[in-house]
Symmetry: C2
Subunit: 342 residues, 2 copies
DNA sequence: TTGAAAGCGCTACCAT
DNA sequence: ATGGTAGCGCTTTCAA
């Protein structure tokens, strides 16, 4: 048995002292090496040993300790104004924030523009959050989850179209949206169904499962219907191009990804004299106000985000009682709303 | 007094030790009092003295030190996914974030839902940011600015329709938007001009100056035109109600606050058989995609946000060289885009 | 009822 | 080239 006091294996967060001990150097040296301090000369062999020790332990520096020592931060605060008339997404986060504040948490929205998944996880870990709610758009890897939990996060929750292994998941089941849209179109007697695939890169994690759900709904219907993916950029030229080729595509209905793409496409189709819904039915998703303002009124898949309250309570529960098996909850209820466009 | 809220070299950020010294007690007592620790009994007179000392010094606890000592945080991290197809506002902030990260700053979007202006400023100050960029929606008061600078913020910058005394300001001149809209309508020969006033509370800081700009443009035109404010909520019922009273209002043009309100109102007017633009001209603001998708195509005031790059550089400059006179920069360039609706 | 002091993790100064 | 160590601001235990 080692004579050194044993660290409770999983529970304690490694510090620079741990790295120093493992590398057989002082904490000062660790600091010099890891910060690439150039005013001090450290032998290459020591550098390597320190870096390896840090990597072995999964060491992540503690931002609070660092800035306490430094006497200042490099933090630029961007207070987020509550958005009264925001998108459903924004309203959800604003509500979550309020609920968590009520439970005495400090809510920080941390930007990670231009960072890769694991870089981002590391940057988050430096802040030592007690909980992380990661939206899609940043794909949290199992490795990233490890970094976060090892740095003290009690609850790591992914929030997006698909769950991630090893984290709790709030799933917004995008497949169901595609499924709802297609079942609605099938019920209207349509059989050759186009599905818009937005070409904006950030939307892929949503677009792919919506298409998959559409395909599955067709297969399960045994109707002999078929699905045709339709790439579309969010600009008029792309929409006009698609509309110009419309009759050649031979589709009698289209699920346009969401309401805004639907509006764009519908206008282009109308300009190309494609009758809606006679010739082609159109359905969007999101059930925004604009559905009711367009003519014909736009059918849509209403997606109801559960209120944030249960999520706030779930976070609180996981923080107080961490370590259970990953939970998975569905957060999205989808239902088609038929209007004049289908 | 209303000069620069400077941070002279000798005056540093007050700590609990300073409070203790001023109150003539120990740091422990300060901690007990300010945290309302109930396990320890402190005389009422001491409590009062401590609180007064804290208030006198403008003491704000240091969140990093607190969580370092506690060994854990109550921080819930809400990583903000980059929004590729977001609103101009969001894209601006995302760009700012990337630019600042490149300058090696840590960008944190801090929510303050349900907090008053000075409460919020205090909460921000606890994080000891080196710079704060405060959007409208949270009205930063001179007092709040003082709290922030005294806690070490080198650059406090307001970002919104109006500058705030004592802080640097990036002004998004909302009056100019109203002015542009009205001058455009006047040039189209309209003389009785309605101006939509959204009833959503968060929009007041924008709505009021847009109206003011509209009024001023009319006055300066010496055209004998008049302006009529038109309250409107963002729902169909409110729009239908307004449209139903339309002919009694005697307006021949309307500046509809922004494109989305314009879309809502235009639909209601069309449903009420008000001819656009023959009977009433409509202009929005924002020049969103939907302007080109509506029929008639919606005229709009294009508002060009300067890119975030200069702001990031300004922040960096102020951090490195703080204490100058408040700067003021205009961030918005507005120009009317005439389409079929006017 | 209050105070003295330890120590959270880190970096920078001053020794070797 | 590397180590010892002080101290950032705070809370909390123990002692007075």
């Amino acid at each position: 048995m080692s004579q050194l006091p044993e660290q409770p294996a999983g529970t304690s967060v490694p510090t620079s002292a741990d790295v120093a001990r493992l590398a057989g150097v002082s904490r000062a040296t660790v600091s010099y090496v890891l910060n690439n301090n150039t005013t001090v000369r450290i032998s290459e062999s020591t550098r390597v040993r320190v870096r390896e020790a840090a990597a072995d332990l999964g060491y992540v520096p503690h931002a609070a300790a660092r800035s306490l020592r430094a006497g200042h931060t490099r933090m630029v605060l961007l207070p987020a104004a509550p958005t009264p008339a925001g998108r459903p997404h924004e309203r959800f986060f604003t509500g979550l924030e309020a609920d968590l504040r009520r439970l005495d948490y400090t809510v920080v929205r941390y930007g990670s523009v231009g960072l890769g998944a694991d870089e981002a996880a590391r940057a988050w870990a430096e802040l030592r959050p007690v909980a992380v709610v990661s939206p899609s758009g940043i794909t949290l890897t199992p490795k990233g989850i490890g970094v976060l939990t090892r740095s003290g996060a009690k609850a790591v929750i992914t929030l997006g179209p698909q769950p991630v292994d090893g984290a709790h998941a709030l799933v917004m089941d995008q497949e169901e949206i595609g499924g709802c849209a297609v079942r609605h179109l099938l019920s209207r007697g349509r059989r050759r169904i186009g599905v818009v695939i937005p070409q904006e890169p950030g939307l892929a994690p949503y677009a792919a499962p919506r298409l998959a759900g559409a395909v599955r709904a067709v297969e399960e219907s045994s109707s002999g219907a078929r699905v045709q993916p339709l790439p579309l950029r969010f600009d008029e030229a792309s929409a006009q191009d698609l509309a110009g080729r419309w009759r050649g595509l031979g589709v009698d209905a289209v699920f346009a990804y969401d309401d805004e793409y639907a509006m764009l496409l519908m206008r282009a189709l109308q300009d190309a004299r494609v009758a809606i819904p006679a010739e082609t039915a159109v359905i969007g998703a999101g059930d925004l106000m604009l559905c009711r303002l367009l003519r014909p009124r736009l059918s849509s898949v209403r997606t109801e985000l559960a209120t944030a309250q249960p999520l706030a309570e779930m976070i609180d529960r996981l923080v107080q009682n961490p370590g259970g098996a990953p939970e998975r909850h569905d957060l999205l209820r989808a239902a088609a709303v038929g209007r004049e466009s289908t």
